[in-house]
Amino acid sequence: MPAAPYARSGAPPVSTGRRVRNGAWWGLCAAGFGLVAVPVVWVIAYVVTKAAASWSWSIFTKPVGATYQGLLNTIEGTFLMMVGVALIAGVIGIGTGIWLSEVAKPGALRSILRGASEVLSGIPSIVLGYVGYLALVVNLHWGYSLLPALITLSFLVVPYIAKATELALSQVPLAYREGGEALGMRRTHVLGRIVLRSAIPGISTGLILALAISVGETAPLLYTAGFTSGYWDGAFLGPAATSQMPYLTYATWTFYQVPTTQFKNALPLSFDAALLLMVLVLGLILLARLVVRLTQKYSPERATGISRAALRAAKANRLGSARAAPQA
């Protein structure tokens, strides 16, 4: 912890009581963070040690099969669903975000649609899954298969993507749009070339984190995706048995309950799947950070063609005026 950046020379002396209170306050805050870090470390350590205890690389080469040999089919299923959600929820979520931020007139319709999206994010995932089951699996006779699972999962994360898009777009200064128009660009071009491009870090972060959420979901899939211990047959709709989708969270959720005297591999697979999920989620989070870092070259300044030197000068200038700020 660096000494407070705020110089205290010249300030009136501080009494011991105030010093103690000051120390206690920051101590409490630090303890708060410490306690928050505990479950993170504990969960990771728990999953890693449990998975490592009986780790076998064959989980990457074999499907679950009848005797719990591997996880390859569930990995495949989870990746497929991730791609599907990225497509479906991505299009709907980004479109919704664009509309909310760029197209819609402030008014009743916009606040209703925005509100609906937020309320949607508050619906418990099992309820979403059950409605998906009733409407898609049963009533439309789609059977347990990829498409109902994708649709259910997509609407679970659409609100997050929409919100991230809306926020990212609204943070692009109005001046950029006006600048683009002043140059005679069509508005769609302004949106595509300048506004959206400047918002890429925010949008992709939202999208990636939404994917992280979708990868970790169990409840919406239990009654829509079904499960098969073999490989997926490539069909988007059921009712063929092999059209059911295996996925990683199912393994974690159910395999630990299998009698271990009969299938001794089941319990380890439960933790292997948990570990893979954690790695996947962590990977997605790091990817989001990487995207932010890489796309900073598409930050508003760059997108509008300001030279790097000018940018550096501007930054230096800004830093100079706000030197005291610890979080510039």
């Binding site: 501080v14 504990w42 990771i44 728990y46 479109g95 509309w99 309320v119 508050g122 309820v127 109005l174």
Partner: protein, 350 residues
């Protein structure tokens, strides 16, 4: 509905609304309509979910009446004992549905989560913004994001198999010495129950509250902080008189969002509460929430030939929906009233 005007591409000046809306109207009509259509989809999905749920729950609502909210017994009845009709609704003998235990369980677990999680989240956010050097803050931010990203089935399994039993052995015996009625000298059990579920939920809402608070604190103007320090305040005094006031309303909004998450969490709670349809006798005993009950009872409910069991679960889901709707509306009202920059914690994921 808007009226897409036919004006030529340029002349109309861009309306300078603060958030840049209305900006595209008048040209890019395809984009206008495409995005509008897409924006209608979440609304349509929500409406469809409500219609399906309500339609599904209607016979249960008629059968259960208002007693649903206050009665304590949830019994599918004798599914093998034949059926009879009451108020036009077919039901097995002995069927009665009272959701009060799971409504109470939902509120209690959420309350514990808030009482424990809120201070931790605020403390973490404050130390992260005010005292950590940028590199460390970046790592700390990663910790929060990872916590937000842990799949709920994984955190639930951890709570069930390790965290709960460990707490029951090492911490709860100390806790139950505290002379508070609900707590004092109660049997600590095996670590499955109200308190464990509340603590696990606390861990799950921390990232939501902390990320929002972090963003709010970062939006506090530096000059104001400097002013307080210049007056000779210690930096904690400055924090309480400047930053705390600046972010106050926004934090309330963030807390309510965390509450929404705590109310609706399903899998982790189903694993950690014991998911029984009972009012907890003490803070250590097993209980259930609405969401965990839906997941744990959905299977057996499907063997009720009259379908009333599943319909009553739908009714419970509807009650939960109304509770979360209320929480969301309150959150939106508070967040809207709060200072600009009270961003929803979407970037942090939850």
């Amino acid at each position: 509905m808007s009226t897409p005007d036919t004006a030529p591409p340029r002349p109309t000046p861009a309306p300078a609304t603060s958030d840049g809306s209305v900006y595209l109207r008048g040209n890019g009509r395809a984009l206008d309509w495409a995005t509008r259509l897409l924006a209608l989809l979440p609304f349509a999905a929500l409406a469809a979910i409500l219609v399906v749920l309500f339609y599904e729950a209607l016979p249960a609502i008629r059968f259960n009446g208002f007693g649903f909210l206050v009665n304590r017994v949830w019994s599918v009845g004798s599914t093998y004992g034949g059926v009879s009709k009451a108020g036009g609704v077919l039901h097995p003998f002995g069927a009665k549905y009272g959701a009060w235990p799971i409504i109470a369980g939902t509120l209690e677990t959420a309350l514990i989560a808030m009482v424990v999680g809120l201070p931790l989240a605020l403390g973490a956010a404050v130390i992260l913004v005010e005292k950590m050097p940028p590199q460390l803050a970046s790592v700390a931010g990663l910790v929060l994001e990872v916590l937000a990203g842990v799949p709920s089935v994984v955190i639930g399994l951890w709570g069930l198999l390790t965290f709960g039993p460990w707490m029951a052995r090492n911490i709860y015996p100390a806790v139950h010495a505290i002379p508070i009625p609900f707590l004092h000298n109660q049997p600590v059990g095996t670590g499955e129950g109200l308190l464990t579920a509340g603590l696990v939920l606390a861990a799950m809402i921390v990232p939501i509250v902390a990320a929002t608070t972090r963003d709010l604190l970062r939006s506090v103007p530096v000059a104001t902080k400097e002013g307080a320090l210049a007056l000779g305040m210690t930096d904690s005094e400055a924090f309480w008189s400047v930053q705390a006031r600046w972010v106050r309303t926004g934090v309330v909004g963030a807390a309510v969002l965390g509450l929404g998450r705590a109310l609706g969490e399903t899998i982790a709670v189903a694993l950690c509460t014991g998911s029984v349809l009972q009012i907890a006798q003490s803070i250590f005993s097993t209980t259930g929430t609405i969401a965990s009950t839906v997941v744990s009872q959905l299977d057996s409910s499907q063997s009720d030939p009259t379908g009333l069991a599943v319909k009553s679960l739908a009714e419970a889901a509807l009650v939960l929906f109304l509770i979360t709707l209320l929480v969301n509306v309150v959150a939106r009202m508070i967040v809207r009233r709060s200072a600009r920059g009270a961003a929803l914690p979407v970037g942090a994921g939850f």
